[in-house]
Symmetry: D2
Subunit: 342 residues, 4 copies
């Protein structure tokens, strides 16, 4: 089968590599010649590289499969452009990080042209090439069914996890790592919530490790406490110098909190035990915010996911004005002077 | 009636001033001669100042009323000392910020000596002298009853708030601003929860004002957004330059969020509209933490009070290790580089 | 001056009453004859009641002031209707609970017609008639200036709060209880955040009172603890039968948490000490949600406001599916059986 | 090597099974004959079962290894008893769920007797027998070193996870699934934080799945919304009937949120897709609470871990009084009637 890929950055190129490695062919489009050349050298005749949209579409066989894998902000405009060159029955996929609202709009726009729109939320990050990509898919059933051979090649595959007890027979697509979740937008909706969960789980580890990191607070000379800190009532309870990297390692085997995120954390902490490479300003992409929006719209309480997002905002100094207000109030009613930073 | 006060700092001195102004007499003890002299000059013969414990006790008439108003850390030792000089029937009051656990222990210790122990949580801060102090009281009923004339003088008084609809007859003590809450520790318990609520309410204002403060984000040139910030989807919705000081002023009249904390905030913002005097490192005293401990012990969900406390911790940089862990994870799975601070 | 009011429900009628009481005249429109009759009987010749839009507009003098005070969902359609009957220079006010997004759209739509649009967020609830309404106003400066005499009559007035220290001279509008916050939408934006703060402050009290309510947990026979409850480590610390109604009363005088919300809470608890009239399913209107949306859009951390909103969702059972997931997980890894409710 | 085990419930018996399967011998003590008989039948001569403490100690060779695996509440008393029968150089292990405070006290008490105290936090639940137990260990280095052969047999072993990139040479103990974390109490401290993280991660999944579960809210007839619910502004965005069990399955392969907890969740949801077996009252054991206590003591912000704990409290109805307070306030200022449940 043939895959057309627009955008040969890390994600797009790795998807192409996986389908070609599994016996398919691919046509790629990228404005950067270097991206084209790299893949051509690597994949040989199974890959056709192009730098112009017309050439790209011309190299595809109908029904064309056009996977768009470019920054979310540029996707809608590009889909409009490519749609003009396609024919009824062709399939347009957005595999990027669009908000699912846009998928609903795009599908409605492409439908009168006879084009199928499929949204695919893609998880796996830099490890996707070897580990496979987890694919969450939205769109019409027939279009998704047509893509099945490609999806199987891109997804991790059945053998990459132990089978869930109770499941029998031919593995379901979900057991191979891809799932048709529902109509247009369903793929990005599920991916969005996936990322929301990711934020929460990451924060759970980060907060817990912070407690371990501070478990030696009782060994600090009380005189070194600044006046703004409450001295420990029982310093003898906090006299542990814990080896956080080794603790993350030990949890990888047999514990309840074993996870892929923990595997990665253990690797990072092994390489940089004090995390000296980082300053602690944590970015957030749209998905975490959109997950909250969806929860608020539907009245679902998500205190953990919200706390995780807000901690990222705070890590970038966004609480500072609020904190100044608190200091001003404390001065006003209690005469408390704020202490200099330290 | 006569009040003995140990500790003539701001709080102790203002309580003495209120009882004397209301016709009582007072004996004070303070190691600092200047504190004694100031009050003596001001209050004349209605006040006897001492600098030695024996002189202080000697100047009191039985049954003695000894109010201890010194830093919480020194209170227990001092109460042990003073107890040796007292006689059965005397009353010892801790009006400071002790944890209520200690009150329970102290009452049990003083009881065999025939001494009464009363704990009084005191709210009102620097405004207490003129506004009166809100008194939350724990201890045996008879001892508290004996103190009634003094408590009336220290508390704000009935006329300082409009009467609650439905209440009739002789004003209850609570309507004068003091309340016998229960046995030993009950006063500090109620004061502790008061402070927990205070943290939560303060944070509610601070977070809301922060939103107002940022309501002009849509006027920022998108090019000035750092790469770690999500650009606004609809910048046209955030083009307000709001006058936060005036907004806090307008809410003081007729709004649902009118409060004494808001009065203070409006005053601070009027004096220093950009809060330039503050850096945003917010201290916390023990009460906020103890409130959480009590909630956790009794299984009461307190997400708001907890969030308020943790925001103070974070304002002092205590989330930094956790934030570094998050950045490390993001780099590991997504190849995301953390950006330099800005 | 003359006020036209569409919608004579509680809020609209009370605003009319305040302006008439202060020497203005009013024209009212309401489909319900009973609402019209009640006001006509009460206000006499200073009030003209109508039940048809054309009659209403006809009774107004140019430049007309049309205040719309109807449910938010019906406001836009009505404004469209009324706009057709107005003339350049007339002023349309939305005093309801519209989202500020709509104000921006409406102002843009009315501008080409020469009509001025003003949005007014109104706080004060059922007490507004006597206490006055706190008014947060968005729109063009000239239109707002034209309304000044009416705004002064509706707002609480300067004397309803002690003057903020440091303020001198002629009272500013904010000191009378109304404020022109900015262009279209600014009024509802500020009102929205006001309500967000309200949610947070309410939750702070509610959580704190819940701790007080449970302070007697140590008197419960441990055998009565269900197996799903952690027994108290130190039951002797939780043996207080606290009188929550009296505690809210005492805090009204001299404490840091004194507020109008506390005044109301004390009144409710005095009338119904165990809150038997309530089941604990707490509604939320749009403003609390929109405040969160605004915070998320602008990257402002609001853990307290969010926790307060989510607690309301949870109070209505919206966490139940999540809770079932937790129970399923616990059974899976620990063999823990969930216990029957009790 | 020989292991003495007191308490042959599920955990104790499975640990005995693992050491015996790996070539060691074991002596067991349990008051319940049936527990003894079951293990004797299964393990034959490699296991000696006893029902009296003296017999148990008598069957052990010096230096004795006595692992106590009984409910936390009974552990201290039993350790006191057994200590009387032991000799200098013997080792007492608490493998249960004690609070680390107790470990510190016990180690200090046993030291003058020449006895070594080791605390082992054990994770793995009902899967530990086959999956191995993750062991977090506190105590003196020599004692822990002496136990090494047993610990290796109980822990999962090196091959149960892929090696962390960058690690080379002979696998460290952490890579086999056990770790000497520090002096007395360090094992239970690390296990406590492990459980705190577990609560947070579980809640992240549960909240996210709840959003997926409600993604069809836009298909509900608006007339069926109760008056206390805010109708959806854009119902067309919430018209997905998502298959939550299949979504948890697909995330197991290649996604960022793949974890053992997710594996278990997928299995539970496959077996009971609507979670009909559960009511949603979620218990909490001590560790989640103690984790918060430690964070509060040391000033570490843990909003996610706290939110997760409080959600469990709320699931059991513990927010109800607070919710009633909110309803009372709403009625007071807005005249809002609370609606009946449904």
């Amino acid at each position: 089968m043939q895959l057309g890929m627009i955008g040969l950055g890390r994600m797009g190129a790795n998807i192409v590599r996986r389908v070609v490695a599994d016996g398919h062919t691919a046509v790629g489009l990228d404005r950067q010649h270097s991206n084209i050349e790299a893949l051509t050298g690597e994949l040989g005749s199974t890959f056709v590289g192009t730098t112009e949209l017309a050439d790209f579409v011309g190299a595809l066989q109908a029904p064309r499969v056009v996977w768009v894998m470019i920054p979310a902000g540029a996707t809608s405009a590009l889909i409009d452009q490519v749609a003009e060159l396609l024919e009824p029955g062709d399939i347009v996929i957005d595999g990027g990080n669009s908000r699912y609202h846009e998928d609903i709009a795009r599908a409605a726009k492409l439908k009168p042209l006879g084009l199928h729109y499929v949204d695919i939320g893609t998880s796996g990050g830099v490890f996707g090439r070897t580990r496979g990509f987890c694919l969450m898919i939205g769109g019409e059933a027939e279009a998704v069914a047509h893509l099945d051979p490609l999806l199987q090649s891109i997804a991790p595959g059945f053998e990459t996890a132990e089978r869930t007890p109770g499941r029998t027979g031919e593995p379901a697509p979900a057991e191979r790592g891809y799932l048709h979740c529902g109509p247009a937008g369903a793929g990005h909706f599920v991916k969005m919530v996936h990322n929301g969960i990711e934020y929460g789980a990451m924060a759970a580890y980060a907060e817990g490790l912070n407690i371990l990191h501070r478990a030696n607070l009782g060994t600090v000379d009380p005189k070194e406490f600044s006046a703004e800190e409450t001295p420990l009532e029982r310093p003898e309870l906090y006299r542990y110098d814990l080896d956080v990297p080794e603790i993350t390692e030990v949890w990888r085997r047999g514990s309840v909190v074993a996870s892929w995120l923990l595997d990665l954390t253990a690797a990072e902490l092994h390489a940089d035990p004090n995390l000296d490479a980082f300053g602690g300003r944590v970015s957030d992409s749209g998905e975490g915010r959109w997950t909250l929006d969806a929860a608020i719209d539907t009245g679902v309480p998500v205190p953990v996911l919200a706390s995780a997002l807000f901690a990222r905002f705070s890590s970038r100094g966004e609480a500072q004005y609020a904190d100044k207000v608190l200091s001003a109030m404390r001065k006003a009613f209690g005469g408390h002077e704020e202490l200099a930073g330290g």
